[in-house]
Amino acid sequence: MASCRRLSGAGLREVLGPAQGLLFDCDGVLWAGERAVPGAPELLERLRRSGKAAFFVSNNSRRSVAELERRFGLLGFGGVRAEHIFSSALCSALFLRQRLLGDGGAGGRVFVLGGEGLRGELRDAGLRLQGDGAAAAAEPVRAVLVGYDDQFTFAKLAQACVYLRDPRCLLVATDPDPWHPLSDGRRTPGTGSLTAAVETASGRRAVVVGKPNTYMFDCIMERFGIDPSRTLMVGDRLETDILFGKNCGLSTILTLTGVSRLEEAQAYMASDSAAAKDLVPNYYVDSIADLIPGLDE
C-alpha cells in the first residue's frame, strides 16, 4: 500500500529524477479559482527545461481544450500545447466517436446535458448533436451524455429518459465529481449529482469517462505512448486523481492546494477496507511549487 510520505529534500530528486513525465490535474493543482498556484508556472517551465513531459488531465467538462489552452495563457503558464491537454469534454467526444462512428458503430445523434464547451468538442469530433438542426432529425439518438450542466432542468431529465428507453442508447457521463469547490470555499454541484438523477430515473448505470476511470489515460497513451512506470500523477482529489493514478499504474503525488485534506488521506490509510487503501497517495506536497528543488537547475 502507498504510504503518503511527504516529498521533500533528497526524496524529491529520487522520485523526480527518473520520471519522464508528469500528469497534472488542473483545478486545485495548477490554479485555484482565478489565480495560478504560486510557483506553478515556474514548475512547468523547469519541467520543460529538464526535458520532462507535462500532460494535463482534467475532469472539468465545461471547457473545450481551446478554452483551457487560453486559460493556461491567461494565468501565466507559458508554452502549454493544446495536444497535451486532456479534458473530460475532449475524451468524452473521443469515446463517443469511437462507439458511435467507429467500426461497428451505428451512428446516431448525441443528446447532451452540458454547455457549449462540451458541445463544441463533440462537434469537432464529428458527432451530431440532438437539437443542432432539423436536417438529420430522423436519425435516432444513440447516446445521452451527462456533463456539467448549469442549465439542467426536470424537462431535460425527462427527455434523457425517453431516449434511454432504447437499450441501444448509451448513457455516458463526463466525470463522477459530486461537487466542485468555488474560490470562497463553498461548493457547486458537479456532474456526479446530475448523473445520479439520470441513473435513478432510467434504471441504467452510466459509463464514466473521467477520473478515476482509466479512459483518459488510454487517450494519452494513444497519442503519446508514455511509460506508466516512469510517469507520475499529481492531483488534489483523492477519490478521482489519486485513484486514477493507482488504476493506471502511476505513482501518485497529492498536493494540498485543492479539495482533499491530508487527514483524509491518513484516514484512508488507517482504514481496513481494500478500496480505501487505493485512495492513499504515494507522496504529498503542500503545493506543486515544492517539486521545483527536485529538478535540475
Binding site: D149, D150, T153, F154, L157, A158, T188, A196, A201, G203
Partner: protein, 314 residues
C-alpha cells in the same frame, strides 16, 4: 424478514383465505396509483370493493407517496371516481407527512427551502411551517456566479425535496448552499424515493427519487425520507387512528415501497398486479439468498382489488 408463520409466501388471496383475512382486519391502508386508479381511470371493480369494505365497517385509509396533491385533492379524486366518501384525515400523502415532520423537527420560526409542488407548499402552509419556494428559481442573473451572490435566508434550517417539475441546476445550487451553510444543523428531508412514475403505455417520468439522489450526491449526505417504505408515514396513520398492526392490511402495487413498509411495520401485505410490480419480481426476491429481499415479498396477491369482491358478498 419472516411473517408470523415463517417467510411470506405471496399466496393468491381468494375464496376461504380471502374471507378469513378480510374478516380479521379492522383497517385497510391503500396505496392509490396503480391500485385504485391509473391516471384518471378507476381500476374496474375497485370502487365497488372498497364500498363493500366500508359497508362491512372496515376503516379505509389512503397512503400515497405522491407529493403533488394535497389531502383535500385526494379526497376529491376519490369522490370523483366513485370511491366511498373519505375525509382528508383518512389520506396520508407524503406532502402532508413531510409538513408534519418538519413542524415537529424544526425549531420554532425556522423555515424550509422547498424543491417541490404547490401542493407541498400548501401542506406546509396548513401545518404552519414557513417555507421558501416552490416554483422556478428566482435568479438574480444567468450564471452560477450570480446565483452564488444571492443572499441566503437566515431562517432556513431544512431543505425539503419533493416532486418538482421546476427542478434545475440553480435550485440544486441553492439547496447545496443551505446544506453547506449549517452542516448537520440543516435538515435534509425527501418526500419519497420513487424513481419513476409510470404513465399509460409503458412510458414513465422521472420520480422524486432522482431529485433526492441529486441533492444527496452533491451534499454527500443522506436524506430523511418521509414516505413509503419509511416507518414515518405509517406512524402518522397510527398517531391519527387506533391501529392494531395485526389487524391491518396494506394494499399496494410496489414491492419496494408499499409491501416493504407494510412488512416492516408488522402489517399483513397484499400486492395487486394492476400497477408497477410483477410476480416475476416477487419470485426473484423469494429465490434470492438475501434476507433483506425477503422483506419485499407480500403475504398475498390479487390480479386486481376487484378480485376481493366475491369474498365480500353478503
Amino acid at each position: 424478514m419472516a411473517g408470523p408463520a415463517g417467510p411470506r409466501r405471496c399466496r393468491r388471496l381468494e375464496a376461504e383465505a380471502a374471507r378469513a383475512v378480510l374478516g380479521a382486519a379492522d383497517t385497510l391502508l391503500f396505496d392509490c396509483d396503480g391500485v385504485l386508479w391509473r391516471g384518471e381511470a378507476a381500476v374496474g371493480g375497485a370502487a365497488a370493493a372498497l364500498g363493500r369494505l366500508a359497508a362491512a365497517g372496515k376503516r379505509l385509509c389512503y397512503v400515497t407517496n405522491n407529493s403533488s396533491r394535497t389531502r383535500a385533492a385526494y379526497t376529491e379524486k376519490l369522490r370523483r371516481l366513485g370511491f366511498p366518501p373519505a375525509q382528508p384525515r383518512h389520506v396520508f400523502g407524503s406532502a402532508y407527512c413531510a409538513a408534519r415532520y418538519l413542524r415537529q423537527a424544526l425549531p420554532p420560526g425556522a423555515a424550509a427551502y422547498v424543491l417541490g409542488s404547490p401542493a407541498l407548499a400548501a401542506e406546509l402552509e396548513a401545518a404552519g411551517v414557513p417555507h421558501l419556494g416552490p416554483g422556478p428559481a428566482a435568479l438574480p442573473g444567468p450564471a452560477p456566479a450570480d446565483w452564488a451572490r444571492a443572499p441566503l435566508d437566515p431562517a432556513v434550517r431544512a431543505v425539503l425535496v419533493g416532486f418538482d417539475e421546476h427542478f434545475s441546476y440553480a435550485k440544486l445550487c441553492q439547496a447545496l448552499r443551505y446544506l453547506q451553510r449549517d452542516g448537520a444543523g440543516c435538515l435534509l428531508v425527501g418526500t419519497n424515493r420513487d424513481n419513476r412514475l409510470p404513465l399509460e403505455g409503458g412510458a414513465a417520468i422521472p420520480g422524486t427519487g432522482c431529485l433526492v439522489k441529486a441533492v444527496e450526491t452533491a451534499a454527500q449526505r443522506e436524506a430523511f425520507i418521509v414516505g413509503k417504505p419509511s416507518r414515518y408515514i405509517f406512524d402518522c396513520v397510527a398517531s391519527e387512528f387506533d391501529i392494531d398492526p395485526a389487524r391491518t392490511i396494506m394494499v399496494g402495487d410496489r414491492l419496494d415501497t408499499d409491501i416493504l413498509m407494510g412488512n416492516t411495520c408488522g402489517l399483513t401485505t397484499l400486492l395487486t398486479l394492476t400497477g408497477v410490480s410483477t410476480l416475476e419480481e416477487v419470485q426473484g426476491h423469494q429465490e434470492s439468498g438475501c434476507p433483506s429481499r425477503h422483506s419485499l415479498v407480500p403475504d398475498y396477491y390479487v390480479d386486481s382489488i376487484a378480485d376481493l369482491l366475491p369474498a365480500l358478498e353478503e
